[in-house]
């Protein structure tokens, strides 16, 4: 690149930073409106039951209660985010006839305060007829298993097949084949702000909603489906959002009941889920049974891989269909398998719904794949780095029939990590270093939501004082997209970051964007923002050319608020003067630029992929199995780094979440009841458990991305569980094939190993 960036790559404060460190940032949780009521949701105590009768009369009589609603107050529609396939839209949110998991909503109350609403819940009498229930997907696919949804054969919600090459023939040519089984656990998102919404219907029949969300557009459209409204009569605003991680882009049990209650009363209704509801009745990471077969030549060339997966779907489809597909696709990552086959089944169970969570099926596939690959390397007597180098993806590689990978820095990452391991030198006894390689997508291509809109859009308005308003439907959920997108806008326009003010996540004023999921904002929305800024800039440069009397042979540009000839940068004029002239010359209209982005002809999965290699160092106490995460170092490439402080935060934060997935986070159940629905009981990594973290940045340039940038959000969640598993094995020689790798499991494995040795 010959162009020097003036904004991109700078270590800047987030555009909303001062609001966040002063407590003035307004979250949905903080929204208070005149005449506002507080809502609460009544939920099923049974994993599977018929609703025979709901009596709300006593609750309605309680002083302070304004309304009680049940499924009968809805249009009785079923919704789901895979809108393209009506059979996958299977969730009523307020159940009318049947409940399918403990926590399924059956009624909701609006009252003058939370305490009154809570009290009213106990007065709602629901008569159930409990039905036989099924909790484990391996049980649910049996012939005589209870049916979670009528007419769904063997409870199989959806299946996926991916195949290329000739897998069976290739296995016959392999010198060595491994077959292994794994179990990947669930994980809760644990957003610090629980799901919440303030819904306000006016007497004009229009709905306004403040909600903590990853996609205002999806929520707007899903409301329209469920309420039989025009989507433009619904305004959804995502202000500051206290975390998402995949849990906040489907219509949820705060948003929908709040709207139904508000519709009845024409008063604003606020529902904030409790932490217990958050753990038991929102969506979660998909548990998976994994069966892997891997074949290689004796010098470590991987010839064939077969993956068979059965996932615990829980009660409804949600985003589980995507997780099922992506875990299958990413089971081939980040290696060049000439022959590959995947069969995945998502099975309905009477448990809390499993859906999207950061990494989206890839943390599971990376844990199992990287564990097995290390064992393969050991069987063959090959170094773990070497086997990854021998088979790793390279730039301009086509995953047969699936995807085209342009930029790929995997091999540079492997080199850097190898150096880093050498530098760490000889480890103390019972310490081990495990390696794990990964890749991830920069947003999804498949239009399962069935939107007619461009996937990303932005509008740029330049005002008379040269200040820039940027409008986009992108949602900042903490990942920093407001900052990254403002930086892209400022860079393209040639102004300073402080000249840009972003308005995002408000369907009333912003062009639609699919939102923050699948690590899509930087690449997809970034492209839309860059194009919108370029459109506005072109209009300015037309005036500049006339104003400067520049000959047509001169190319003009703007950098750092200076409009100039590209070849003779000293010849130029102030950006502010050109803006004033341009607006006058346009009949006094502010300069408006528009930009859109939808990936075309980029394969089936994503327009770009990022790569990395991570190592974890653990110190194990061989007597007790207790271990400490000492250090996690990641060599990572994400194309051009737009916002370095943001990427560091994504990386370290991912280690907290993915380390937790490997080490301690789990949702044990007893007959469909989650046993640890509180932060005290749900173990996650706190500051004292957090390992040292180091980042080794690798330079790459992604041709498809804005200024060469690509994903840096979710991919980082993929490697850590595998790195921990491999490190434990290096340290004390035991392998744990079911997550999380708790000290208790390590202890048991060590004891077994000792007994076998006797």
């Amino acid at each position: 690149m010959t162009t020097k960036f003036t904004v991109i790559g700078q270590r800047v404060h987030n555009v909303d930073g001062t609001e966040k460190v002063t407590g003035s940032a307004k979250y949905t949780f903080d929204v208070v409106l005149p005449n506002m009521l507080y809502g609460k949701v009544k939920r099923s105590p049974y994993p599977h039951a018929k609703i025979l009768k709901i009596d709300t009369s006593k609750a309605k009589k309680l002083i302070g209660v304004k309304a009680v609603v049940t499924g009968k107050d809805t249009l009785g529609r079923k919704q789901g985010i895979w809108r393209r396939f009506p059979e996958l839209c299977d969730e009523e949110i307020l159940c009318r006839t049947k409940v399918r998991y403990i926590g399924d909503p059956v009624a909701a109350v609006a009252a003058i305060d939370e305490d009154t609403a809570e009290e009213a819940l106990d007065l709602i009498e629901v008569e159930y007829e409990p039905l036989p229930a099924v909790f484990d997907p391996l049980e649910a696919i049996k012939e005589d298993a209870p049916q979670v949804h009528d007419g769904v054969e063997l409870n199989i919600n959806i299946n996926r097949h991916i195949e290329w090459g000739d897998v069976d023939e290739a296995f016959q040519k392999c010198d060595h084949i491994r077959e292994d089984q794994y179990k990947c656990s669930s994980q809760a998102h644990v957003c610090m702000e629980t799901h919440d919404a303030v819904a306000s219907f006016g007497h004009n029949g229009k709905l306004t909603v403040w909600t903590s969300s990853q996609s205002s557009y999806y929520i707007q459209r899903l409301y329209a489906d469920m309420l039989d409204m025009k989507e433009s009569d619904i305004r959804v605003m995502n202000r500051h959002t206290g975390g998402g991680f995949g849990s906040k882009f489907e219509l949820d049990s705060a948003q929908f009941p709040a709207a139904i209650l508000s519709q009845k009363l024409c008063q604003p209704v606020k529902i904030v889920l409790s932490r217990e509801e958050e753990f038991t009745a929102t969506k979660r990471r998909t548990p998976m049974y994994y069966f892997l077969k891997l074949g290689a030549t004796k010098d470590g060339k991987l010839l064939a891989k077969e993956a068979r997966v059965i996932t615990e779907g829980g009660a409804y489809t949600a985003m589980g269909a995507t997780a099922l597909y992506l875990t299958g696709f990413f089971s081939s990552f980040p290696y060049k398998y000439p022959n590959y086959r995947y069969d995945g089944y998502r099975v309905y169970t009477n448990t809390a719904v499993t859906s999207a969570m950061r990494g989206f099926g890839a943390p599971q596939s990376t844990f199992v794949g990287e564990s097995q690959l290390d064992m393969m390397a050991e069987d063959l007597g090959i170094d773990p780095i070497e086997i990854r180098r021998k088979n790793g993806m390279t730039p301009n590689y086509e995953v047969p029939g699936q995807a085209f990978i342009q930029s790929c820095g995997l091999h540079q990452c492997l080199d850097k990590i190898e150096d880093h391991i050498k530098k760490r030198g000889k480890l103390p006894p019972n310490h081990g270093i495990g390696v794990s390689a990964y890749g991830f997508m920069s947003g999804g291509i498949f239009n399962w939501f069935n939107t007619p809109y461009a996937f990303s859009a932005a509008v740029v308005r330049i005002n008379i004082d040269g200040k820039v308003d940027l409008y986009t439907g992108a949602c900042d959920i903490g990942q920093g997209s407001n900052t990254t997108l403002s930086m892209i806008c400022a860079e393209e326009l040639g102004v300073k970051l402080e000249d840009v003010r972003i308005f995002s996540g408000d369907t009333g004023i912003c062009p639609p964007d699919l939102g923050a999921w699948g690590s899509r904002e930087t690449l997809m929305n970034g492209n839309a923002v860059k194009r919108a800024a370029a459109d506005a800039k072109r209009q300015l440069l037309e005036f500049a050319a006339a104003h400067m009397g520049a000959n047509i042979v001169y190319d003009l540009d703007i950098k750092d608020r200076w409009v100039h000839l590209v070849d003779r940068p000293e010849r130029g004029v102030s950006y502010f003067d050109i803006v004033k002239a341009a607006i006058r010359g346009k009949d006094g209209n502010a300069i408006m630029g528009r930009g859109y982005y939808t990936p075309h002809r980029k394969g089936m999965i994503s327009p770009a992929y990022s790569f990395g290699v991570q190592i974890a160092e653990v110190a194990v106490d061989p007597e007790t199995g207790r271990y400490k995460l000492v250090n996690v170092t990641t060599a990572h490439e994400s194309g051009t780094v737009v916002n370095p402080l943001g990427i560091e935060g994504q990386l370290e934060g991912a280690i907290m979440m993915a380390g937790g997935y490997g080490y301690c986070e789990d949702q044990p159940m007893d007959d469909g009841k989650i046993l640890n629905p509180s932060i005290a009981d749900y173990k996650l990594i706190r500051s004292l458990d957090m390992p040292e973290t180091e980042i080794l940045e690798i330079d790459t340039y992604e041709p498809e991305g804005p200024f060469g940038a690509k994903e840096a959000g979710e991919g980082l969640t993929n490697p850590t569980a595998g790195a921990i598993g491999n490190a434990i094995y290096k340290a004390v020689g035991v392998r744990i094939n079911d997550l999380p790798i708790t000290p208790e499991k390590v202890f048991k494995a060590l004891r077994e190993k000792k007994q076998k040795a006797k």
């Binding site: 987030n14 909303d16 307004k26 610090m192 702000e193 959002t241 975390g243 934060g653 004292l688």
Partner: protein, 159 residues
């Protein structure tokens, strides 16, 4: 029956009436409109509601408002002096020690209380000081770096 609560919040005296079972966090948020203090669990496990009560960090979701009678409470809104941010606030900005920002008020209050009590904590003491606060976004290390920078004297108190 509501009872009288006289206390100071961020230096401002208040004389109000609250229900005996009202939590300090709810009174700060709802009665006084100080919504910087968050609620993440309502069971003193996550630290998002941390405020300073007579100089000590407490989880305001587990303190009855009436227990603060006669006390001095500092919330995140009280950290800046006018338009001047506190050293910790500036350090958090520079080190990117926040993402979604929902835990940040509690995190700032725990670290402010830590440095009030122990201006020169070791790294381990810093980790212990914020161990009651969960952050799901940052992975803590950028927060620890920010506090360390303040301890080293990189950020002076605004005049």
């Amino acid at each position: 029956m509501k009872k009288e609560l006289k206390f100071k919040v961020n230096g401002q005296p208040y004389d109000i009436f609250v229900k005996p079972k009202a939590l300090l966090s709810d009174v700060l948020r709802i009665e006084l409109g100080l919504t910087g203090t968050k609620r993440g669990c309502n069971s003193s496990s996550c630290g998002a509601c941390t405020v300073m009560l007579n100089g000590m960090a407490v989880k305001s979701c587990s303190v009855l408002a009436l227990q603060a009678n006669g006390a001095e409470v500092v919330t995140v809104e009280g950290l800046a002096k006018g338009n001047k941010l506190s050293p910790l606030q500036r350090a958090f900005l520079d080190h990117g020690s926040y993402q979604c920002g929902f835990c940040t008020p509690g995190m700032l209050m725990s670290s402010t209380a830590l440095l009030t009590e122990n201006p020169k904590p070791t790294k381990e003491e810093i980790k212990e000081g914020i161990d009651g606060n969960i952050c799901r976004c940052t992975g803590y290390n950028s927060i620890i770096r920010a506090i360390t920078a303040v301890v080293k004297g990189d950020y002076k108190e605004a005049k």
